[in-house]
Symmetry: C2
Subunit: 197 residues, 2 copies
């Protein structure tokens, strides 16, 4: 009932409703929503004395399967693959629209002097974009230990063999010294140095 | 010179300049900017048979120090602390402004019936906010194994002992089944269930 009242009070706005619940001290209701049925295991892989490391969450439907030998092998295989292949996203659904647009813009610019019909150009761009996804999204990457399969196919095969939906929810890959914030700073510095010449 | 030309062409816009460089096929210049002087090590800590895991990057100035015993102990201590205390950010500088505003809004609402002068209310809010930061930012958290120190103080002490700037650049903490996307979905579902009654 707290939820319904809060939602009415917020005029149907879910975000506001959560705040109202918190304000009323019934934040517990929101906390309960943290619980999710997904089981599985967090895998880590450390490479080169800690110069590169990967952490990922592989989910199964039951905790029982999370101890299955095939599941454990799959998790460490995928972690090692990520360490080697440096994907940035799990799937293309995670790639920000702005990044996709920017990428397309680069392709268009590269082809602006080609005398091809517009629809052919668009098809080529689509092809280049698919290639781009297959480089940055781990599910679309070719598996480093078996180039006949993508990581997605590897998961599908495991799902079949284990008999439970197996999914890669998220991952992080750290490499000592790499850093996105510094990247642009350095680029700015580099340009400033060039300008100073 | 490529950088300068690209920047001129982009009318001084750094983002556009990077795209221009890529379009010209001189993306290498941008890639070089990836290199950063920071040394250190990536630490991982796995808890409860992989139900929780933490990965963090601890930086030193030289690679030599990254093999120092004190540095190695510090990294694993902080990783364990993060597993236990679930911070969400490294420092308050990382907390999104919208989250801070929302938090303040909750505090204001909680105190709206108190008959205190506005400046006192603001001071109390400031105090509550500092407490909030000390709960969600790892550097401000009290170290779980020594409540006399914050994690930031732990790093400062290590910096003094080791004789090189030691800093915690980033971390990730995964717990099986937790998931931000699902959180709001579940809340929506919960509210829908309530409404259906």
């Amino acid at each position: 009932m707290d939820c319904k009242n809060a939602l009415d009070e917020a005029g149907g706005d879910m975000e506001k409703a959560i705040d109202i619940l918190r304000k009323k001290g019934t934040a517990k209701a929101a906390k309960r929503a943290d619980k999710i049925a997904a089981e599985g295991k967090i895998f880590t892989y450390v490479h080169g004395e800690g110069k590169i490391a990967v952490m990922l969450e592989l989910n199964s439907e039951t905790d029982f399967v999370a101890k299955n030998e095939k599941f454990l092998k799959l998790g460490s295989d995928v972690a090692m693959h990520i360490a080697a292949m440096s994907p940035r996203y799990v799937s293309r659904a995670e790639v920000p629209a702005a990044e996709v647009e920017r990428e397309k813009d680069v392709y268009r610019e590269q082809m602006k002097n080609e005398k091809k019909p517009a629809e052919i150009i668009e098809k080529i761009i689509e092809g280049k974009l698919n290639k781009y996804y297959s480089e940055i999204c781990v599910l679309e990457q070719v598996y480093i230990k078996d180039e006949e399969k993508t990581i997605e196919q590897l998961l599908t095969i495991a799902t079949g063999e284990i008999g439970e939906k197996i999914s890669l929810r998220r991952f992080a890959r750290y490499e000592v010294g790499e850093g996105l914030e510094k990247k642009s700073n350095d680029f700015v510095k580099e340009v400033e140095e060039q300008l100073a010449k």
